[in-house]
Amino acid sequence: MSELLKELKIKIVQELQLKEVNPAQLADDTPFFDKGLGLDSVDLLVLVAMVDRDYGVQIFTRELGEKVFITLSTLAEYIAKTRKTR
């Protein structure tokens, strides 16, 4: 799980080109939006695409998105759980 989180932080920073963010300094419970990473809705679509492409995990509904895209940890947990059951 911690390896996955570490990998996710790097991928997110790269994918969204977050110039001012050092992945190593990101807390596990950093929120995706508002005062956290401050992502916008298009960033969210880019992340949805990345998660599908790199982990084979699909998050295409609002209901699921609300549960998963809260913090870096919630996303990592969902990916880990879903990958195991695939």
Binding site: Q17, L18, K19, E20, F33, D34, K35, G38, L39, D40, S41, V42, L44, L45, V46, V48, A49, D52, R53, Q58, I59, F60, T61, R62, L64, G65, E66, F69
Partner: protein, 546 residues
């Protein structure tokens, strides 16, 4: 005047149109008469027929009348796409009053300025934005605040003495005594909309649009696409109605044609995922969007993107040039082209479109719409016409062009000269009459469909206690078109890390204006006249991005 573009019009597009002398609300009353039971609005699980909509429009108009809102009065909207927007918009039209269209992202001084400049008598908003409205309402002309309550936040508003008690939209509609048609005489030349837009100096300005301007604009766009017999087809409305592109392509064309508007409000970020579900459920005929949204959807796995996008017959993009890879991916997945529109608030919406359905040449913003004249003129004088292929300022003239800027004669006379709107956009035209956008005269940054003037970012940054000077520029971004990069010089001895400055930005400006990156510098490069040397900043920003 030479109009080489006319030969590229599709067969269904007339070279000129006849514009009926009608007010905007006739689109609604005609649709009610023709197909009262067509679904007009779908919002989550709520569906309103044209008859239902018109009834609510009339009730709300009567309620406004009772509150003292009459012909010529300004009513400011701070609303996302919602049934409330639709009802309130047509109610204001039927009263002969004026909609003041405001972006829901604005707050503080900017909002206060818009309310003061327009002297809005009433504000219609969501409870979500009410606190922001009440924070600036004193010293404005606002007498009435009407809220659509989603979260019940009206109960916790900190009201001070002299502030109007908020009224609830639903209660006003329910308690209006009658749903009869209004008897107000509204003429095509009456002002219908004040469209606020950012200014290069950082001060907002309002394009004054009459019923005639807006009706002409809608009919031009409708004729360009020329779809017939689509019945109660759906239009996916995610482009905000408070933007002229959304007002025209989503709200007014739908009502004119009797289509179903499927509203996607974008209150929170997860609404983007609702959009995917909505695409699947309603299989819209038309989907107007901004380039970043097209890019985001087309970043999804091909089979997912194809499944969601295939039903769309009219895919339109506006707000900024669409990247070539997005064009190609869409065509590869659906076999169709995305039609690009170029327009501006000052033109009620579009002045140019690429041909529908076949599209235009790579990188083109399209051809002038029927009855629209367009020229490229010398960028310094604004007079001498450029030769084919030469870059200059785009100027346009046509029935959709605004009357001027609201109560700003100086700016109006600088922008509207002999009926020609000087767009501030640098462009070129080829020998066939296709226009190509090249750049902006005034450093405007186009990001995710939003217009951002550097000064809007710089002024906020310069208010930070540790910041001595700041400059902002746009740099290219694959998905968003451009993103903001800010250069900051700190006061002597001051220390601040980039995170602190980013947090400050997030607290003081709408998210879309927050810089993607910050460069810390000793001094912001300026010329002897004190003007920021943005070209140098752009180079520095690109170098730092690697």
């Amino acid at each position: 005047m030479n109009r080489p573009w006319l030969k590229h019009y599709e067969a269904h597009v007339p070279h000129s149109l006849i514009y009926p002398e009608i007010p905007i609300q006739r689109f609604l009353t005609d649709s009610v008469a023709r197909h009262p039971d067509h679904v007009a609005v779908t919002f989550n699980d709520l569906h309103f027929s044209y008859r239902n909509v018109n009834e609510r429009v009339n009730r709300f108009a009567h309620a406004l009348l009772k509150l003292g809102v009459g012909k010529g009065d300004r009513v400011a909207f701070l609303l996302v796409n919602s049934p409330t927007y639709v009802f309130a918009f047509f109610a204001v039209m039927k009263l002969g009053a004026v909609v003041v269209n405001l972006s829901v992202g604005i707050q503080g001084e900017e909002l206060a300025r818009c309310l003061k400049d327009s002297a809005a008598k009433a504000v219609v908003t969501l409870d979500l934005f009410a606190q922001g409205v009440y924070a600036v309402i004193l010293n404005t002309a606002v007498e009435t605040v009407i809220l659509h309550s989603v979260f019940g936040l009206e109960k916790t508003l900190p009201l001070e003495q002299g502030m109007p008690q908020p009224l609830l939209f639903n209660e006003l509609v329910a308690s209006a005594g009658t749903a009869e048609e209004l008897k107000v005489q509204v003429s095509p030349g009456d002002v219908a909309v004040l469209q606020f837009t950012s200014g290069s100096t950082g001060a907002p300005k309002a394009a004054t649009l009459t019923h005639k301007n807006v009706v002409a604009s809608v009919l031009q766009s409708e004729a360009w696409i020329g779809i017939r017999g689509a019945g109660n087809a759906s239009v996916l409305c995610i482009i905000p109605f408070f933007h002229v592109f959304g007002m025209s392509a989503c709200l007014l064309i739908s009502v004119l044609k009797g289509y179903r508007m499927v509203l996607v409000p974008r209150i929170d970020l997860m609404d983007i995922l609702s959009l995917m579900e909505t695409l699947k459920t309603y299989k819209p005929l038309s989907f107007p969007a901004v380039p970043s949204l097209w890019a985001g959807i087309l970043s999804l796995p091909p089979e997912v993107a194809r499944e969601h996008l295939s039903p769309i017959t009219v895919a339109t993009s506006g707000g900024a040039p669409l990247p070539q890879w997005v064009h190609e991916r869409f065509e590869e997945l659906t076999g169709r082209r995305i039609v690009e529109a170029y327009g501006l608030s000052e033109a009620s919406s579009a002045t140019h479109f690429t041909p529908y359905p076949k599209g235009g040449p790579v990188g083109s913003m399209g051809l002038p719409l029927p009855d629209t004249e367009a020229r490229i003129v010398d960028r310094e004088t604004g007079e001498t016409e450029c030769v084919v292929g030469e870059i200059g300022e785009l100027v346009v003239r046509g029935p959709q062009i605004m009357q001027g800027y609201w109560k700003n004669e100086l700016l109006t006379s600088a922008t509207l000269r002999d009926g020609w709107l000087h767009t501030g956009d640098l462009a070129r035209v080829d020998s066939e009459g296709f226009f190509f956008l090249v750049d902006r005269k005034d450093d405007l940054i186009l990001s995710s469909g939003f217009n951002i003037y550097p000064t809007e970012v710089e002024e906020v940054l310069k208010r930070h206690p540790k910041v001595k000077d700041a400059g902002a520029v746009g740099v290219p971004d694959r998905v968003k078109g451009q993103v903001v990069v800010a250069a900051i010089a700190l006061k002597p001895g001051a220390e601040a890390d980039k995170q602190e400055l980013m947090t400050y930005c997030r607290d003081h400006m709408p998210e879309y204006r927050v810089p993607k990156a910050i460069l810390l510098m000793e001094e912001i490069p300026r010329d002897p006249a004190g003007k920021i040397l943005r070209r140098m900043l752009r180079q520095d920003a690109r170098v730092s991005e690697g």
